[in-house]
């Protein structure tokens, strides 16, 4: 059942800064499937320049946050893709992603998210460049050792791990006969390396993103070879031929252990006006200001220029780096907000525009005026049950020579 091999132009992975008590990467208080998808795409080398060629998006996860919501609108706006771009949300695992990467045509952006734990997201843009993926064989047996019904909060795990390992994974792998597979996706790393002796490229997570994580690893290392993707009784074998190692990127900041001071209060606490939300959406999620005919840039958008009151305005993208002008850390409990949290007014680089944003991916209260950082998409709040996305200030990591590891992150 061979298919015509497809080429991935570039790919990348993103893992959150935060870790749980066991050291596994986990979502930050302002992250979800949507924000991870955006970060994964931004991890793809050259994405900003290539974004214009995306004409289809497929987002794959086993743990969607919403079955009905606004994931597509947020991801498209945050990545600067045309709002009309066809966007498919799929439920699937590592084997599905490998099949997708072997069959999706040029211009498709594949996003795969494992919200954790461990949490990782991957993105692959189909085109010319990084590697060629060819599908060889697939096998299926119905063995739902791990399952989840819609509405359940956690996976249901059939209490026989040997059944899964021997009659599920090992049988499927034997039938696939992946002699010499160097990559295994969908099986936790330790088990993967025991089951497939030749496996070198594995992933800490076991969901759809693990497939992209394994491929990213191989491409960065310039390693050709076979890759298997496995989930319950389903397994897929592809071969990967690396073309350009520089076309794969991985975003991984120094870890901070996430320790919650107090549990978040009810998300319904903050009222929302959906009309107000919608009016602000394009500017807020696209991070777009308005420039007047005299060249002044205003953000958030206003009917008249802030400087000269000129009403003739056009949209302009804003710089995504800046410096803290002032800040304050809120330590009192605020209904509906995870705390403590730090708010900063950030002066954007090479611009007169300042933005008000919360600090992300860093321990609150440790920042200072003049700290430099980036503006990244995060879920700023949940209001009346509806997630509200915007930009947060992510401080630059200290340069080598300064203390790099902040291992006591109280959130």
């Amino acid at each position: 059942m061979r298919t015509d091999p497809q080429v991935i132009e570039a790919l990348g992975t993103y893992a959150p800064t935060w870790t749980d008590a066991g050291g596994s990467r986990c979502l930050g208080p302002d992250e979800d499937v949507t924000t991870m998808a955006v970060e994964a795409a931004r991890a793809v080398p050259g994405f900003a320049a290539s974004a214009g060629r995306v004409d289809r998006v497929v987002l794959v996860t086993r743990k969607p946050d919403h079955l009905l919501g606004t994931v597509a609108e947020v991801v498209l706006a945050a990545l600067g893709l045309a709002p009309g771009t066809p966007f498919e949300e799929r439920v699937g695992g590592a084997p599905e992603v490998l099949e997708l990467l072997a069959s999706a045509v040029s211009g498709t952006l594949v996003l795969a998210i494992d919200p954790g734990a461990p949490a990782v997201a991957g993105a692959a843009l189909m085109g010319e460049g990084a590697c060629r993926v060819e599908l060889h064989r697939a096998v299926r047996h119905s063995l739902p050792v791990r399952s989840r019904a819609v509405g359940d909060r956690a996976d249901l795990v059939y209490d026989d791990t040997r059944l899964l390992r021997e009659h599920g994974w090992r049988r499927a792998l034997t039938e696939l006969d992946p002699s010499g597979a160097v990559g295994v996706a969908g099986i936790p790393a330790r088990d993967a390396m025991k089951l497939v002796r030749t496996a070198v490229h594995v992933s800490p997570s076991a969901g759809p993103a693990s497939a992209i994580a394994v491929l990213t690893d191989m491409v960065r290392g310039g390693v050709d070879g076979d890759v298997v993707g496995v989930e319950n009784g389903h397994a897929v074998l592809v071969s990967v031929a690396v073309l350009e190692p520089a076309s794969a990127g991985a975003v991984l900041r120094d870890p901070i252990e996430r320790r919650t001071v107090r549990p978040p209060t009810t998300a319904a606490a903050i009222p929302a006006s959906l009309a107000s939300y919608e009016r602000a959406f394009d500017a807020k999620v696209g991070f777009v200001g308005r420039a007047c005919t005299n060249g002044h840039v205003t953000f958030p958008p206003r009917p008249r220029c802030l400087e000269c009151h000129d009403p003739d305005l056009r949209d302009v993208p804003l710089p995504r780096q800046g410096r803290v002008y002032t800040l304050s850390t809120v330590r009192a409990p605020v209904p509906g907000k995870d705390g403590p949290y730090t708010l900063a007014v950030v002066a954007l680089d090479d611009s007169h525009v300042r933005v008000l944003a919360h600090v992300t991916d860093a321990t609150p209260g440790r920042q200072s005026i003049d700290d430099h950082g980036a503006l990244v998409l995060r879920r700023v709040a949940v209001r009346a049950g509806i997630p509200d996305y915007g930009y947060a200030f992510q401080p630059d990591l200290p340069s080598p020579g300064q203390s790099a590891l902040d291992t006591s992150g109280v959130t």
Binding site: T265, A269, I270, P271, A272, S273, S276, Y277, R279, A280, K284, T298, F299, P300, L306, Y325, T326, L327, S328, T329, V330, R331, A332, V334, P335, G336, K337, Y341, L343, V345, V353, R354, V355, L356, A357, H358, G365, I369, V380, A381, R383, D388, G390
Partner: protein, 389 residues
């Protein structure tokens, strides 16, 4: 424009007043103001009413106030300008009297902050002065909103948390002697520094309490004054200032632009400058804001406020006593009432009848700053004729 004077002023004690509704508070404040009028005042003397209320418990504010005071046969208008509501109500009333539209009017300020449960009202109160799409989601609570200014100001002037704490010590000491104050206890510098942090750099004792309360003043035109008193306190200048409503769009967060504009207008109307002010009630919703006020109101030069508090210049007995009443910090802060209550204190100070009396003041200044730190009001009052400095 005719001269306008305050001929009566009174307030109820501020606090957590679960036993009093808005109508009770308004009526009691009016009674207190009436009883302070030297030659007496009848309800029939009042020709119009202005009511400063930021919330609207029990609904339609203008009617609630008129009805509670038994003044439903005269015009009644509700003024809302965030924390500047009280002084703005006085400004509007003074313009009406000065412009000849009425001779004797009543201004009442009141707010019931404690009528609804704390968390339910949290976002309701915030939404009265926050942008729904840009401020609310990030959780820009009031202490954080002011802290963004104070942090930048501290960075530029070298002030430290100890200077902020000294404001709390001073104002609590003043308020401990004030039977109308909400928090009547002294605090030490260390207690203020050790209090749990609310929004850095403010700890719990750097923040004014949530209070219910009401205050009232009675204004009269120059010709009508002698019916009521031989010792009127003159309204010499009023001013309102407005700033950008989003913090990221204010050009300089180390000042309150609204305060500077309001002060400039009030000083110009009064024909005096900051050096002429002998006693002041300024907006200390948070301790650091009082220090910024010293500079924005021109009491001291830019960057000198921390020296002023260190040297005790604003103590009663100092160069320019500030918040002899205890300020918002100790006296309390029902937003609609605060500006009016400041003028009640100044009325007493300028007539020499205040409890925490400043020595023979001639000019007094009341100041508020609020909203998304986008509005300020200043009122300048002068002591009765014949009072020397």
């Amino acid at each position: 424009m005719r001269d306008v004077a305050i001929v009566g002023a009174g307030m109820i004690p501020f606090g957590e007043l679960f036993h009093l509704g808005i109508k009770d508070m308004v009526s009691n404040a009016y009674t207190a103001a009436k009883s302070s009028v030297d030659k007496g005042l009848e309800d029939s003397d009042i020709e119009a009413l202005w009511f400063s209320e930021v919330g609207s418990v029990d609904g339609f504010p203008a009617g609630v106030a008129a009805d509670a005071c038994g003044l439903i046969d005269v015009p009644s208008t509700r003024v809302e300008n965030a924390c500047a509501s009280g002084n703005d109500a006085i400004r509007n009333a003074a313009h009406a009297v000065g412009g000849g539209y009425a001779d004797v009017v009543l201004v009442v300020g009141a707010d019931k902050v404690r009528d609804t449960p704390a968390s339910a009202t949290f976002w309701d109160w915030m939404s009265t002065n926050r942008d729904s799409a840009w401020d609310m989601p990030v959780g820009l609570i009031s202490p954080a909103s002011f802290a963004l200014h104070v942090t930048r100001w501290m960075h530029e002037t070298g002030a430290r948390r100890e200077h902020l704490a000294q404001v709390a010590v001073k104002n609590h000491h003043n308020g401990a002697r004030n039977p109308k104050a909400h928090l009547r206890f002294d605090v030490t510098l260390q207690q203020v520094l050790d209090a749990p942090l609310v929004a850095e750099p403010f700890g719990l004792l750097d923040c004014a309490p949530q209070s219910d309360g009401a205050a009232a003043v009675i204004l009269a035109s120059k010709d009508a004054v002698e019916r009521f008193t031989d010792r009127p306190v003159w309204i010499r200048g009023t001013g309102i200032g407005i700033d950008r409503v989003l913090h990221a769009q204010k050009p300089d967060l180390s000042v309150f632009g609204a305060t500077r504009k309001a002060a400039k207008r009030a000083y110009a109307a009064a024909g005096i400058g900051p050096a002429d002010i002998d006693v002041a009630e300024v907006h200390d919703c948070f301790t650091g804001v009082e220090l910024m006020n010293y500079e924005d109101l021109g009491f001291c030069d830019r960057g000198e406020a921390w020296k002023w508090i260190e040297q005790g210049e604003t103590e009663v007995g100092g160069r320019l006593p500030v918040n002899a009443s205890g300020g918002l910090k100790s006296k309390g802060h029902p937003p609609g009432a605060t500006g009016v209550a400041q003028c009640v204190e100044l009325f007493e100070q300028l007539r020499g009848t205040a409890l925490n009396q400043v020595t023979a003041p001639r000019y007094g200044l009341a100041h508020n700053v609020g909203g998304p730190t986008a509005v300020a009001a200043v009122t300048i009052l002068e002591a009765p004729y014949g009072t020397t400095h």
